[in-house]
């Protein structure tokens, strides 16, 4: 079982019913699994920021949710993470990293580099998975922690090394 299948299992075990996402290549398989899962509602977002409102509303409605995004989307979250902090919404985000070693697109580098600090600055606990086996346990732990948590999946785990490779995913 690959990490997407393991994470999907962890999400099911945590009772996650609402999945907000802006698609990215690294999350392709997990998005497919969530979309195919009849117990889950996968909500495609026009911007990652919408996922925060979605998760907050789900929490008010007593439902667990997850947000799937790429590190480039983290910059779109900043102001609304203020609400997450003030209201103590137990947000869980799974973030595929770009701009790290092996990155082919220099425009990904600034936000990739800034992602952990931006999240920490806005009061989100940051957990790093540098190996495929670490991802699902970190996600499971995030649902027990009771605080807003981002699980960052290192680019080396995703393994996309070129634009061509990304397009044939």
């Amino acid at each position: 079982m690959g990490w997407p299948e393991q994470v999907h299992r962890s999400l099911c075990a945590a009772g996650v019913r609402i999945v907000g996402y802006v698609p990215d290549a690294g999350h392709k398989r997990l998005i497919e699994l969530c979309r195919a899962d009849k117990t889950m509602r996968a909500v495609v977002l026009t911007t990652e920021e919408e996922g925060i409102g979605l998760a907050a509303g789900a929490c008010l409605g007593r439902q667990n949710s997850v947000l799937l995004m790429q590190s480039s989307g983290v910059g779109n979250l900043v102001n609304v993470l203020g609400m997450v902090q003030v209201c103590r919404f137990p947000l869980v985000m799974i973030i595929t990293m770009r701009g790290e070693q092996g990155e082919f697109n220099p425009w990904q580098v600034p936000m990739g580099r800034a992602t952990p600090r931006v999240l920490e600055t806005m009061g989100v606990a940051v957990r790093r998975a540098s190996d495929a086996r670490e991802v699902a346990p970190l996600v499971a732990a995030a649902y027990k922690g009771g605080q807003a948590t981002a699980v960052l999946i290192s680019q080396s785990v995703i393994g996309i090394k070129s634009f061509q490779e990304q397009r044939t995913q």
Partner: protein
Amino acid sequence: MELLRDRKNLLVVAGLGSTAWDITAAGDSPLSFPTWGAMGQAAMMGLGLALAQPRRRVLVVTGDGEMLMGLGALATIGVQRPANLSVVVIDNERYGETGMQTTHTAHDVDLAAVARACGFKESKIVTRKNQIGPLRSLIHEKRGPLFAQIKVKAERLPLVLPPHDGVVLKERFRAALLADVLPEKL
């Protein structure tokens, strides 16, 4: 606030500023969530709530400035087509909290048309008081998602402030929902 008369089991999210004061003036309730920030997110919070509680009617009441900051949400909601969600924009064509500067709707941007184009089943502009009663019925009964843009005068109405402790607002909402659900389960 005519819209909230006889609100029964309606779940309400209000965008920041005068819409948050307005729903409070109509009678604060644990099942109202007034926001004091997160501008642009009111409609998405309504979506999350509507998807989490499909058997409840959900109403988002917000201002034109707040809706404009999260315009993409109308597309996201349109794709999901939640039958139990209504989004109502109280459009005074102003940024009320920052000095009454005009918003895009003062310059003919038509939010109801945007909502319709995004897939809202019902989308209308309301300009007369006698249209509010029928709108209220739609909010409670009609299969949505529903969008309404209520054109109002830009004026300063008396301020009634809701609680601003976000944790209190969240917990009272969640507890009230649980209390509502339990009797059904008995």
